[in-house]
C-alpha cells in the first residue's frame, strides 16, 4: 500500500485474580455481582477512609515480573492521579508513576516462523475505576462501584511492534504469559485484560504523531483497530494532512476508530506521592518465595516439551492457546502434564486433544464436567491400546460421552454394552470368517487368483456380520490364513 512504517506500543491492563480489592477487604470478582454490592466505605471514598495494600496483589505483580523475565523492583511507590469522574470516588486513582513494581522485561513473539523479542518498559500496580452506564433516553447516568478499587497491573510495551499482526501476536503471548503465571482469570469478555494501542506511521526514522486507541478487549479488536489506524493515518499524510495527537475509541460494530479526546483536552493529572501509603519495600525472602511458587511450566516450557513429544508447531500452538479458547471450561495442558513421564500416553493425549477434543468443543459438543475429562481420555487410550476400540469407534464413543454431563461408572462396560468394543477373540472371529467365506465363494476364488481387492470386501462382510465389533486387522489376518488353508 505504501512505504510508511507503522510503530506501535501497547499498554495492557491486567486484572489480578486477588480475593479482595487492591486497598480494601472487599470481594473482587464483580462479574456476576449485582451493582454496588462489592463496596465498602473505602471503595466509596468516604471521609476518613484510608487505603491499605493487598499483599496478594503484590505477590501476583511479582509473578507477572517473573513471567516477563525480570525480577520485581525491591522498592516501589504509590502516587495519586487526579481527575473528577463519577466512577472515581476519591477524585484520584492510586497508581505508580515514578517507581513501578516492574521495570523491564520482554515478551517473545513468533512472526512467520521467526522469533522476535518485544521489550516491556514497565508494569505498575493501580486500582481500577467503577463503571458508568448511560441509560438510553434518560436524563441520568448510573454508577456501579463494584469494580472500583480492583487491582490492575498495567504493562507497558516498548514501541517495538511494526504491524497489526505483530501487535496481535504480542497481545496473545502476553495473555498466555499472564494466564500461565496464574496472575489473572484472563476473562476477556469481562474485560480482565484491556489493551490501549499507540499507533503512528512514518516514512523515515523520525516517529510520526501517534494516536492512542483505548479499551480494546479482544485480540481481534487489537488487530483490527491497529489496521484501521495505520490505514487512516497513512491516507491522511498522503493527502497532505496532519495526524492529530488524540485518544480514540474503537467502534466494534462499525469496525473503525473514532475521536474521543484531543491533546488540548488532555487532563493535568497533578500526580503526587500518596501520603497514605508508605513505599513498598520487598524483602529477598518475599521475592524468593514468590519465585519458588511460580508455576513450573510457562508457554515456552510447553513448546519445548511438546516438541519433544513429536508434535509440530501448529499443533503445539493449538494446545498452548487452548487455554484461551476453553476459558475455564477445562485446561488441557495440566492433563498432559500429569503424564509427561509416560511419553506414549502424553503424546496420545496431546494428539487426541488437538485432533478430536478441540474440534468437538468448537462444535459445541462439550457437556462433560472437567473433573471427568482426564479419566475419559485415559480410558480411550487404554482401550485403544488393548485393541478393544477401533479408531472410528474411539472417536464415536468419546463424542457420545463428552456430550453427557457425567461419565458412566466404567467406560469399558458402557462401551461393551453399547457395542463400541471390537471383538478380538480369535476363535469368535474365526467362526464369523468361516461363515463369511462359505457364503462368498466367488470372492474366495478371486483372492485365490490373486485379486487382493476382494479381501476388503470380505473384511467388510465380517464387520457387518459382527455388527462392527470385530477387530478389522484380526479379521483380515484370519481371512488370509483360512483361504490359505483351503
Amino acid at each position: 500500500m505504501s512505504d510508511f512504517e507503522p510503530t506501535i506500543g501497547i499498554e495492557c491492563h491486567v486484572q489480578l485474580k486477588t480475593k479482595t480489592k487492591l486497598f480494601a477487604a472487599v470481594g473482587n470478582d464483580a462479574r456476576e455481582a449485582e451493582p454496588n454490592t462489592l463496596i465498602s466505605h473505602i471503595c466509596l471514598g468516604m471521609p476518613g477512609a484510608l487505603p491499605y495494600l493487598n499483599e496478594q496483589a503484590v505477590d501476583l505483580a511479582c509473578r507477572a515480573a517473573f513471567a516477563l523475565g525480570v525480577e520485581p523492583q525491591k522498592f516501589s511507590k504509590f502516587d495519586r492521579k487526579h481527575y473528577f469522574y463519577p466512577d472515581l470516588p476519591k477524585g484520584y486513582q492510586i497508581t505508580q508513576l515514578h517507581h513501578p513494581i516492574v521495570l523491564g522485561g520482554k515478551v517473545k513473539i513468533k512472526i512467520d516462523g521467526k522469533e522476535k523479542p518485544i521489550g516491556v518498559t514497565r508494569a505498575h500496580l493501580e486500582e481500577d475505576a467503577g463503571k458508568n452506564t448511560h441509560p438510553e433516553g434518560k436524563d441520568y447516568s448510573l454508577v456501579d462501584l463494584n469494580r472500583a478499587g480492583t487491582p490492575l497491573l498495567e504493562i507497558v510495551s516498548e514501541p517495538d511492534l511494526h504491524s497489526a499482526q505483530e501487535a496481535k501476536a504480542y497481545a496473545t503471548e502476553l495473555y498466555l504469559l499472564m494466564k500461565y503465571a496464574d496472575v489473572t482469570e484472563g476473562d476477556l469478555y469481562h474485560g480482565n485484560m484491556r489493551f490501549d494501542v499507540n499507533v503512528s506511521v512514518s516514512k523515515d526514522s523520525k516517529l510520526g504523531i501517534r494516536t492512542e486507541t483505548k479499551n480494546l478487549n479482544s485480540f481481534k479488536s487489537v488487530e483490527k483497530a491497529i489496521e484501521y489506524e495505520i490505514k487512516r493515518q497513512t491516507e491522511l499524510i498522503q493527502k497532505g494532512k496532519a495526524v492529530t495527537q488524540e485518544t480514540r475509541g474503537w467502534d466494534d460494530a462499525k469496525q473503525k476508530t473514532t475521536t474521543q479526546r484531543s491533546k488540548e483536552e488532555a487532563h493535568d493529572y497533578r500526580y503526587m506521592p500518596d501520603p497514605d501509603i508508605p513505599p513498598l519495600e520487598l524483602t529477598d525472602k518475599f521475592i524468593n518465595k514468590v519465585k519458588s511458587e511460580m508455576p513450573v511450566m510457562m508457554p515456552d516450557d510447553w513448546r519445548y516439551k511438546l516438541k519433544g513429544l513429536g508434535l509440530n508447531d501448529q499443533q503445539i500452538e493449538i494446545l498452548i492457546q487452548s487455554e484461551l479458547e476453553l476459558q475455564d471450561k477445562i485446561s488441557i495442558l495440566p492433563l498432559i502434564e500429569q503424564h509427561l513421564s509416560d511419553k506414549a500416553l502424553a503424546k496420545f493425549l496431546a494428539n487426541w486433544n488437538v485432533n478430536v477434543f478441540l474440534p468437538l468443543v468448537r462444535e459445541g459438543k462439550l457437556k462433560l464436567g472437567k473433573d471427568y475429562h482426564l479419566a475419559l481420555e485415559k480410558s480411550i487410550y487404554d482401550l485403544t491400546n488393548q485393541n478393544k476400540l477401533s479408531s472410528t469407534n474411539a472417536k464415536a464413543l468419546f463424542e457420545k460421552l463428552i456430550s453427557q454431563e457425567k461419565l458412566p461408572e466404567k467406560v469399558e462396560d458402557y462401551a461393551k454394552a453399547k457395542g463400541y468394543i471390537q471383538v478380538s477373540d480369535e476363535s469368535e472371529i474365526a467362526k464369523i470368517v468361516s461363515d463369511v467365506l462359505t457364503a462368498n465363494p466367488q470372492a474366495v476364488e478371486d483372492i485365490k487368483k490373486g485379486e487382493m481387492k476382494a479381501t476388503g470386501f470380505l473384511v467388510g462382510q465380517v464387520m457387518k456380520a459382527s455388527r462392527g465389533q470385530a477387530n478389522p486387522a484380526l479379521a483380515q489376518k484370519l481371512i488370509k490364513s483360512q483361504i490359505d488353508k483351503l
Binding site: G48, P86, G91, Y271, P275
Partner: protein
C-alpha cells in the same frame, strides 16, 4: 475547684459505684447546655451517649469488665467520624453526613468504656487557627469572649478549658491542637506521627495529620494517649509503639536534662508577654539545675513556607472526594455533571478551603510541581535533618507554642498570611513527625499562653514525663 477529677479517678469513681456513667454523661450534657454562649459545641450525641452510659452502668451492676475509661465523657472534634450525631468537619459540604463507621480512636476509647457526648467546633476541614473558618460559628475564648480560642481544634480546647468534659480529642496538622491549647490555657499534645490511627478522621494533610488529646493535665494526656495509641491495620502509615504505658510517666530529674531553646522561635515578632512567660519557665528550669542552651535552626524559618505548599497540595487532593455525587451537599437543578461538580463544591466549600484547593492545585500542576512541591519536599528533609542533629545535643527543645496569645475575633480574618503566621513555631514538629506538647505557662494580662516542648520521634513517653515536670514548676 475543678468540675472533674483526673480522668483515672473519674473512671475509678464510676467503676466503684461512687457515681454512675449516666450521671457523668448527664453532668457533661448539662454543662454543655449551660455554656452554650461559648459555642464550643456543634452538636451533642445525647441519645446515644445516654444509651451507652446505661450499658456501662448495667455492666458494672453485673460485675462485667468495663475498661479503664468507664463512664468518662469526652468531646471529639467534629472531623472524627462518630455515631450519634452528624460528622461535618464544620463544613457546609458535609452538613447532614451520618458517619457509616467510627474512627479507630473513638472505637478504642469506647472499648475502654469512654462515652463521646458531643462534637466540637473547628475551622472547616481544620483549615485555620481561630475557628473563624467554621461554616457554623466562631467559638469564643473562655478567658475573653471577644477573642478567638485558637484553631483549628478551638472547640475542643475551649471545651476542656470550660471543663465541659474531662478531655477532648483534636487533630494537629500544623499546630491545630497546640495553638488552641496555648490560647485556652490547657494541655495540647501532638504525638509522634503514626502513633495514633488516622482511620476515620477526615483527612487534611495526610503526611502531617496527627490525632491527640486536649486535657487539663499532662498526666491526663498520657492516660488518653495510652488508650488511643497503637497499630491499626487500616492505617498503613503507623509506627510500632516504642514505649510502653504512657499512663505511667517516669520521674525525670530536671537537673539531668539538656534543653535547647530555638533561637529563631524567640526572635522578633514574639509577643512580649508570651516571651516573659517562656523566660520565666526557662529560669525555673535553670534553677532546677537543667542545662539550658540556645540553638539555631536556620532552616526553621522556611518551615511555614514548606508547610503552606505541602499541606495545600495534600488538601487539594484529599478534598477531591467531596464532589456532591455520593454523599454530602449536592446542588439541585443542575444541567450536567460539570455543573453539579462546580456548584456543589462552590457552595459546599468556604473561602479558606477554596484558597487551599487553589494553592494545592497550582503547586501540583505540571510545570510547577518541581519548582514548588518537589522543592518543598527537599526543604522538608533539610528541616528534619536539622532537628535530628539538634536532638543529638538536646533531650528536648523548648520555646513558646505560638508567637502571640489569643487575638481578637475578626482581627486576622482578612489577612490570611497573618493568620498563617500563628503556626510558624508549631509546624516544624508536623513536618518532622516528632511529638510536641503545649503546656500552660501562666497568664499575661489575663490571657493564657503556653510553652511548647518537642522531643525526637518515638520519644513520646519521655516528652510527656518532661512536660509533667515542667507543668509542676510553672
Amino acid at each position: 475547684m475543678s468540675i472533674w477529677k483526673s480522668i483515672e479517678e473519674e473512671a475509678k469513681d464510676v467503676a466503684t459505684g461512687k457515681t454512675t456513667a449516666v450521671a457523668n454523661v448527664e453532668k457533661s450534657l448539662k454543662l454543655i447546655d449551660e455554656k452554650q454562649e461559648y459555642k464550643a459545641i456543634i452538636a451533642t450525641t445525647r441519645d446515644r451517649a445516654l444509651a451507652r452510659a446505661k450499658e456501662v452502668d448495667q455492666k458494672i451492676a453485673k460485675g462485667a469488665p468495663v475498661g479503664r475509661l468507664a463512664g468518662v465523657p469526652f468531646i471529639a472534634k467534629d472531623n472524627f467520624l462518630v455515631f450519634g450525631a452528624d460528622t461535618t468537619a464544620a463544613s457546609n459540604i458535609l452538613k447532614g453526613f451520618d458517619a457509616p463507621y467510627q474512627a479507630t480512636a473513638i472505637e478504642k476509647l469506647e472499648s475502654e468504656g469512654a462515652i463521646c457526648v458531643a462534637k466540637a467546633n473547628l475551622d472547616a476541614f481544620a483549615h485555620g487557627s481561630s475557628t473563624e473558618n467554621s461554616d457554623y460559628f466562631t467559638t469564643l475564648n473562655p478567658y475573653d469572649k471577644s477573642r478567638v480560642p485558637g484553631g483549628s481544634s478551638g472547640g475542643s480546647a475551649a471545651a476542656v478549658a470550660l471543663e465541659l468534659s474531662p478531655f477532648a480529642l483534636g487533630t494537629d496538622t500544623g499546630g491545630s491542637i497546640r495553638l488552641p491549647a496555648s490560647f485556652c490555657g490547657v494541655v495540647g499534645y501532638k504525638p509522634t506521627y503514626g502513633l495514633v490511627s488516622r482511620n476515620g478522621v477526615i483527612a487534611m494533610g495526610s503526611s502531617l495529620d496527627v490525632i491527640g488529646p486536649l486535657t487539663r493535665t499532662v498526666e491526663d494526656a498520657g492516660f488518653v494517649t495510652e488508650l488511643i495509641a497503637g497499630k491499626d491495620e487500616l492505617d498503613s502509615t503507623m509506627i510500632d509503639r516504642a514505649e510502653k504505658d504512657y499512663s505511667q510517666l517516669d520521674k525525670v530529674s530536671l537537673g539531668s536534662l539538656n534543653i535547647g531553646i530555638v533561637k529563631e522561635h524567640m526572635g522578633g515578632g514574639l509577643d512580649p508577654g508570651v516571651k516573659t512567660n517562656v523566660q520565666r519557665v526557662i529560669s525555673s528550669l535553670k534553677k532546677a539545675g537543667a542545662n539550658v542552651e540556645e540553638i539555631s535552626l536556620p532552616s526553621s524559618k522556611y518551615g511555614l513556607a514548606v508547610y503552606y505548599i505541602l499541606c495545600p497540595a495534600e488538601v487539594s487532593s484529599n478534598l477531591s472526594r467531596y464532589d456532591g455525587q455520593r454523599y454530602g451537599y449536592s446542588q439541585e437543578g443542575v444541567n450536567n455533571l460539570e455543573e453539579s461538580y462546580a456548584k456543589s463544591r462552590s457552595h459546599g466549600f468556604g473561602d479558606e478551603a477554596k484558597r487551599r484547593i487553589m494553592i494545592g492545585t497550582y503547586v501540583l500542576s505540571s510545570g510547577y510541581y518541581d519548582a514548588y512541591y518537589q522543592k518543598a519536599q527537599l526543604v522538608r528533609t533539610k528541616i528534619i535533618n536539622e532537628l535530628s542533629s539538634a536532638f543529638k545535643k538536646f533531650d528536648v527543645l523548648l520555646g513558646p507554642t505560638a508567637p502571640m496569645n489569643a487575638f481578637k475575633i475578626g482581627e486576622n480574618i482578612d489577612d490570611p498570611l497573618k493568620m498563617y503566621l500563628t503556626d510558624v513555631i508549631t509546624v516544624s514538629a508536623n513536618l518532622a513527625g516528632s511529638p510536641a506538647i503545649s503546656v500552660p505557662a501562666g497568664l499575661v494580662e489575663g490571657l493564657p499562653s503556653g510553652v511548647q516542648i518537642m522531643a525526637p520521634q518515638n520519644k513520646d513517653k519521655f516528652l510527656l514525663s518532661v512536660a509533667k515536670r515542667i507543668e509542676e514548676i510553672v
